[in-house]
Symmetry: D2
Subunit: 362 residues, 4 copies
Amino acid sequence: MYKQIGILTGGGDAPGLNAVIRSVVRTATGRFGMKCTGIEDSFEGILGETHTMSLTQKTVSGILPRGGTILGTRNRGSFVKMVDGKPVYPELPIGEALANLDILGIEALIVLGGEGTLAIAEQFHKRGFPVIGVPKTIDNDLAATELTFGFMTAIDIATEALDRLHTTAASHDRVMVLEVMGRNTGWIALHAGLAGSADIILIPEVPFDFDSVVAKVLERESKGSRFTNIVVAEGAMEVGKHEMYQDTSELRLGGIGEYVTREVARRTGKETRCVVLGHLQRGGSPNAFDRMLGTNFGACAVRALASGETGKMVALQAGTIVTVPLSEACTNLKTVPVDGQLVRSARDIGITFGSPKEVPKG
Amino acid sequence: MYKQIGILTGGGDAPGLNAVIRSVVRTATGRFGMKCTGIEDSFEGILGETHTMSLTQKTVSGILPRGGTILGTRNRGSFVKMVDGKPVYPELPIGEALANLDILGIEALIVLGGEGTLAIAEQFHKRGFPVIGVPKTIDNDLAATELTFGFMTAIDIATEALDRLHTTAASHDRVMVLEVMGRNTGWIALHAGLAGSADIILIPEVPFDFDSVVAKVLERESKGSRFTNIVVAEGAMEVGKHEMYQDTSELRLGGIGEYVTREVARRTGKETRCVVLGHLQRGGSPNAFDRMLGTNFGACAVRALASGETGKMVALQAGTIVTVPLSEACTNLKTVPVDGQLVRSARDIGITFGSPKEVPKG
Amino acid sequence: MYKQIGILTGGGDAPGLNAVIRSVVRTATGRFGMKCTGIEDSFEGILGETHTMSLTQKTVSGILPRGGTILGTRNRGSFVKMVDGKPVYPELPIGEALANLDILGIEALIVLGGEGTLAIAEQFHKRGFPVIGVPKTIDNDLAATELTFGFMTAIDIATEALDRLHTTAASHDRVMVLEVMGRNTGWIALHAGLAGSADIILIPEVPFDFDSVVAKVLERESKGSRFTNIVVAEGAMEVGKHEMYQDTSELRLGGIGEYVTREVARRTGKETRCVVLGHLQRGGSPNAFDRMLGTNFGACAVRALASGETGKMVALQAGTIVTVPLSEACTNLKTVPVDGQLVRSARDIGITFGSPKEVPKG
Amino acid sequence: MYKQIGILTGGGDAPGLNAVIRSVVRTATGRFGMKCTGIEDSFEGILGETHTMSLTQKTVSGILPRGGTILGTRNRGSFVKMVDGKPVYPELPIGEALANLDILGIEALIVLGGEGTLAIAEQFHKRGFPVIGVPKTIDNDLAATELTFGFMTAIDIATEALDRLHTTAASHDRVMVLEVMGRNTGWIALHAGLAGSADIILIPEVPFDFDSVVAKVLERESKGSRFTNIVVAEGAMEVGKHEMYQDTSELRLGGIGEYVTREVARRTGKETRCVVLGHLQRGGSPNAFDRMLGTNFGACAVRALASGETGKMVALQAGTIVTVPLSEACTNLKTVPVDGQLVRSARDIGITFGSPKEVPKG
């Protein structure tokens, strides 16, 4: 059994990080009698002058409902650098980090993060340092786990936004476009679209063309519904394009949401408005499910460490939390199955995905 | 393919009923070209003078976020009577109902309801009338399905209540007791307790004694936490008792929540307050997940009917909606596994279930 | 200018206390360069072994959205004792408190509290110690101020509860009774009833009889609305009674909400259900308005102190915060004007107050 | 007494329109025995082929919590045309409208709308047709009324957004910019900024310069707060500019929020992110206060008509609803007093308005 473990959080925000931290601390200290040390600002906290804080039951009191992470995730570029908007990984100063962990007396790590952060965690494991990962991706696009914390909260927020836009659209005969997160996958768009009564859902997995989108708007019009609600994942793609919509020009005309808005307005002549949810989906208090899931992840991660596991990630499979190899965790993307049940149900209730093959029939 | 199908809702309220109705109507009329008829007030609507309404895409427009059911569920006692608070099932006038369905031109039924309602639905199936059930139980206690709509919303509401009680408890050094639903199972209490930072969770599956409850309150006190939050499922049981706490006396001293409150106050001398959530958990707008699940259930139910299935219930298993025999649906109760992962995680973070065997160690 | 001021909170919980504390601290330290000391557990913190904490901008960081009070309000009975449920005020150890304030170097006090707490604050003023009060009453029943923080949040919560009960009532043909706070006045019941679509509102200011209540239920029934929503303030009174409904018997049959529920069920034969909001109205995060009002109160209180005022209370009048004598603050109750505009509007839209004179006409 | 009155809604969306409609209908039909007719799509509904609907207590049942307006506000250009983004008012076909009202038997009008809509309403009054206005401006910028419905809901939404951004900002050391409504006035920005813990608030009434904004960000940095939250009203103006920030170029680089974001990022080198709330502030369910206020406005408007008033607008003054001349209603803008109490309190707690004169001292 370890005497002291460390915990750190890396990458973008996701509601539920603090729930995991609290659960790790309570389980490690209360159940197993370990000391628990928080490493600040992701792996940066164990480089150079180290930055850590002692975590006790008192420290984590009251953080369960709070968004963000009490450990911070400021990235100073030692492990990851952003170059032209893409992450670049410098050679890792793992040796320095391991030496510092030794000085600090930290014998094992619990690492909360996405693909990039967990890939670094795996390096520690390969060097023989015990580590357990906890997956963090608000897009819910990791194949190894059915759900991650933050995703359900994001859907709640996107759905509430759709509710708000819906009444305005209906009262003012408008087309409303909501851009939600999802660079590689359409999970948030699909779930929120179903829950928030969207008419058109555009996701990366189903290339769309504007003829189909416009046909749906006009078909609704012809049936007496003078408004249309569109949800667009940020990674949605037009037929024939193979990269996310991006402003490579100087013009910075906004993202895919703005682009769809301009095109629909131009082609239908209807008043069309856009809202980009952006960071509203990532911050703030987690909903009940995400707090519960984060808590369960945290306790299971400590139990895994305590029972000698390492190089693993906790994951939800068939309703139960299991551990899977870290290597597996980071490689496979879980995309929306385009002929799957949920897409089929969406189409059955009259939602269009903008595919050229779809003939909308409301 | 049926020309006309009927839909009805039976039993208590659950957020998401209207989401299912909307999805059934849109799928049946839009995808399959069937007519769709709403039967009012559960099976009562096809007895005597029948009460039905034509359901079109227009009728169901805007009902997705609304609580309750547009079909009503007034029970006039023809199918179920309450005698001494327990349901009694008179001989079913199935023949009359079938004759009326014939007159109305309804060729198949989709039935939304709990155990009792689905048992009646099965009688129709046995008489050769096509029927597909959609499970409704806010307690989430049906073994055949992992989740039912309404459950997640109930947890959100209970968790928000705990958040509100928490700050008062902490500021005023109180014990707060929240009674939530769950006559036979502790799912709501367990999930909300984890999400809402409860210290003690009392559920039907783990008989509790007051010594353990009081020990936890005093242990927290001794560690400097002068407040305690308790969640009690309405079916929680004291060790040695074998029935739900009930006031059989004239005195009507309230339910288990009030009882626990009185006893804790008496035994600890601390100010102790009770809130009974009651109907606040059942009504109102469903959260995003429950709308999504209800929508998927509805579309899948119509597809099952359309593909010739009958005598089945839609159910969520391993993240996918499947159909299971109606008979199976109504027989098995899904209780909280007392040695399962979630209970274990709860204990690991210091939550006590009040079992005499538990030695609280915060 | 004072070098150091103290702040304390007394009495029951109200959303917004932390907003006031934060604002006082930021204004005192940032704007005026004073030191700011938090006194724990109301006046108890300056008796015996004193309990105080240094308050800096860092201490109050993040508390704006949080319910409760970081200063605590545990009452140990030195200033107020509850005897038979009524507050009794022992002779005040003001001398001891003043001596301790002197030792602590605290030169002036900002006191947040209701009638009782502010009455004590006035004693300090009379002994020559500078003090400014900030009114706290969730019932909004102080004549000297148009609004107090916490009231709007309470109305939001009660309205959301009514929304939830509404859909169940409508779907199940029920009478739903919601008991809300208001021992002396019906402000919360009136506002929430208007916002939450109540059919009957029972408040202390308008004595009700059950004949009128039942007449309204039956009249709605006769017009096709088979459900009724009732809001009851905890201090609502039957005609001819002159005290709040209370269980003086051993029986403890619950409060006025339960009583109204039993009587309506008995007299109408309709299924009638009760929810008592209780502490859910007092705790948790304040809404935007209450945070804003609390912040403004806090800054104005410090400015009042800094400009030499004492023996005053901040109060909202005609949209502006003014100061009024503390003595005035605690004496006059603001009740709902029974012939006022809001009651008249409520009656005009068909709401009944259960007065024998009212002939309901929905 | 009129036998039949009409009601219409004009202009942009605001939460609470349906609350007013419901109240008007219930008061007119229930209290005064008038018939009530809804005119669809603002004044368009009484031109050409008229579009109206009979409004009964049944029609308005359940609309209280719903956003938008059941009457629609599609503007077909007969009364107002948008030319280059500015409203242009064609010669009014008042004669035609009056003739149609006569044919429909409508003897008086209640008109819900903003400046433009109420100006048209006044034309009817001047031609001798009885009309009462109800003010609608989510920006709360009408001098004649203290508050309008929709404003409080907008503040709630903006504050919730700030809460969400806050945790991300704090965890990731970012500057977060939230653009809220307010073309002419900063009421929403000021209130939400106070309630949502903003550090910098930029409003039209206080011209800002980037030196002051940047100074505040750096000052916070130097004190250990590595993040900053900025709220910007859409009409905020830089010192020396005299028009709202607008992209007159082809480039469409977004509004003031995007502009501030780019400049702050450029000048501080900090990661800076922008969220534009846009239509999320206008749609969806009104909060409790706005429902209450809308209900009171509606009942008072009908009472005013019934008592013979015309050419008036209902308005909230000193907590009571009064009537003021329509002419007055539309002329005076209510701006934030730059030396007023609320701005002063904001500054006292360390909020900067970006004025060159301000020396931030957090």
